[in-house]
Amino acid sequence: MKHTTRLMNIVQRSLDGPIIEEEDFNNKNVSQGLARVVAKYEIKVEKDRIVNLDDDLADRVWDAAVDFLASCGVYCQNTGRVILHSREEIETILKKAPDNVWIGAGTDAIHEVVRGVEDPRRPLLMGSAIGTAIEEEFYIPAAISYIQEPEVDVTMVPTLDKIYGYDIRTRSPLEIMSAWREAELALEALRRAGRPGMAFTGLGSSISDVGQLSADGPGGLRNTDLHTFGIISELKTNFEILNKLTHILYRDGIIDPYANPIYGGLGGGMEGQAVLITAAMIALNVVFMATCVGSSPTHPFNFNDTGREVMIPSSLSWQALARNSHLLTNLTITAVGGPGTKTLLYECVAFTVMSTVSGGSRLLGPRSATGSITGHFSGLEARFTGELLGAASKLNREQAEEIVQKAYAKYKDDLTKKPYGKHFKDVYDLKTLRPTPEWMKMYEEVKNEVAGWGLSFD
């Protein structure tokens, strides 16, 4: 096991850090703390521009985030205490953060490296619906629809909607059974697609520590896979989360956690949200010892991250991280549109271009139909996203902004209409595992259209 001392240090801070009521942590440490640094560092975004062009602003967001995190800390719900690190400690730990990692095994392993703003290297793609549920009968075909795509570098398999006909119930035997079943099906899908060593993330069918960790070991999630867990919004943890971290460390696994700040929530508007996202990514490394840090900042009513008000702080935050750290960062496209809609494809264009020029090292998704509609996802949108990653890597931020604005104009009015599209079985031929002609035609039309906007797919 690595980093025993560091883990003990974090656990110790959760046991003897400052005591505070959770509501006071929300209001004073988070909300008021963010308001303080937004004013102190004069964080002000241009509301008409989605892709940030202001390097000085990005650097101020970074300074604000470190200042904020050093005063706010991370709240441990079990102990009612704050896990605090000073600014100096944060900066020291970040210097030792990984700037590259091999993910997967054998010839299917890929190398994730830190990227900068306008970096010409293509980010990696975790082609996946990011834990969206599907019926078991469609599970393997749906998973293969992603794994078979050459543009997909790593994956996260779907979650099961039921286990042997029963609802999956957390902290029960049914959850442990679902975790094992998910691992079995994932490994089978990888094998059938001819990419057995490709890394997958898991285990989304289970959420508790006992459920998730039960199938993290021999016969289940491998140490070359990505081991994920989410922290609680905003900047909170508990022993279940720290138990997951401890187990992953003993497994020598790749630690790939995420934090999804909610726009309009405790962070307030776009300025507070930019600082909060940045601080949360720093906390994932400093407190949760992440190898890679990830986010899908969330809209409070549409549950996506492809709206202007979420993409603006995401771009700013990702540039702050890329310019001031060597953290391996990943964003998730959480789209409102589902398969069989052009809305989904335009959302992929805007978000992929924004995140690529802003310095992300890996992109996750697309989580079609906000990940909340059973079976509404397919591999074709991942293929398109992978192609977009290559094309977007050739752009500078001004060019990217123009394309993002064009794509955004195409779908902005659809976001509240929630065009969730079709089920996987209705957009793919289940025998050939190819997209239906109708879905393929839609993809080709949008791809040709955006090629005319300056995206080169050569």
């Binding site: 999956i168 069918s205 409070p300």
Partner: protein, 214 residues
């Protein structure tokens, strides 16, 4: 004589508890009926706060601050309201995120939206067992149990609450159960026997209003 509510309106909008309480007490002392203060000033101002949040012109911290001012005013005017045998509450709701689920921001947004729309809320927090939800609703004498589940393996606990309420004929007459959260759909809510489903906080307020007939 026309009453000016400018100071009180500003105090609620700005989240200024001290000014809000002082001004409302001053108005009562000068003869304005407490219920009139609520119907003519506080309710429309809070409705506007809720509307502005639903358009994301203001955010959760501002909405919570406004709700806190009104809670303090309600507390300060309680003796007067009791003397008049009147209430400002439009209904009582217990709200919770169910077992195994630790997401609280979405629930807190719904809670704040309901508060600024005049409902009395008891927040049970996150990871709440079905038994605790039903027991707390009885203790609070609630009209509605509002449940949130953002994770698929937590949904069965929502159904448990509905089943517990259904199984108890006494509380079945008293409680309505409304549900929401990422993996919960209207179709699921109908099948489970919920009394209402809200996709988001705006819809939750509309459903509660409909169920309470306000």
């Amino acid at each position: 004589m026309t009453i000016s509510y400018d100071v009180l309106e500003k105090a609620i909008t700005d989240g200024d508890i001290q000014t809000g309480v002082t001004e409302s007490l001053k108005m009562v002392d000068s003869g304005t009926k407490p219920l009139e203060i609520f119907s003519d000033c506080i309710e429309p101002v809070l409705a506007d706060v809720g509307d502005r949040f639903s358009r994301l012109e203001i955010f959760l911290p501002e909405m919570i601050c406004s709700a806190e001012v009104v809670k303090a005013i309600q507390e300060a005017l309680k003796p007067y309201l009791e003397a008049d045998q009147t209430s400002t509450s439009k209904g009582k709701i217990v709200i919770a995120t169910v077992s195994g689920d630790l997401h609280d921001i979405g629930k807190n947004i719904v809670k704040a939206m309901l508060e600024v729309n005049g409902f009395e809320i008891k927040d049970l927090g996150v990871d709440v067992s079905p038994q605790t939800a039903v027991r707390s609703a009885k203790d609070f004498n609630a009209d509605i149990i509002a449940l949130s589940a953002l994770m698929l393996p937590s949904i069965p606990f929502v159904k448990d609450v509905i089943d517990f309420v259904e199984a108890d004929t006494d509380v079945r007459e008293r409680f309505k159960v409304i549900v929401g959260g990422g993996p919960v759909s209207e179709e699921w809510a109908d099948e489970a026997g919920a009394d209402g489903y809200g996709d988001n906080a705006i819809e939750a307020v509309a459903i509660v209003r409909r169920l309470m007939g306000v």
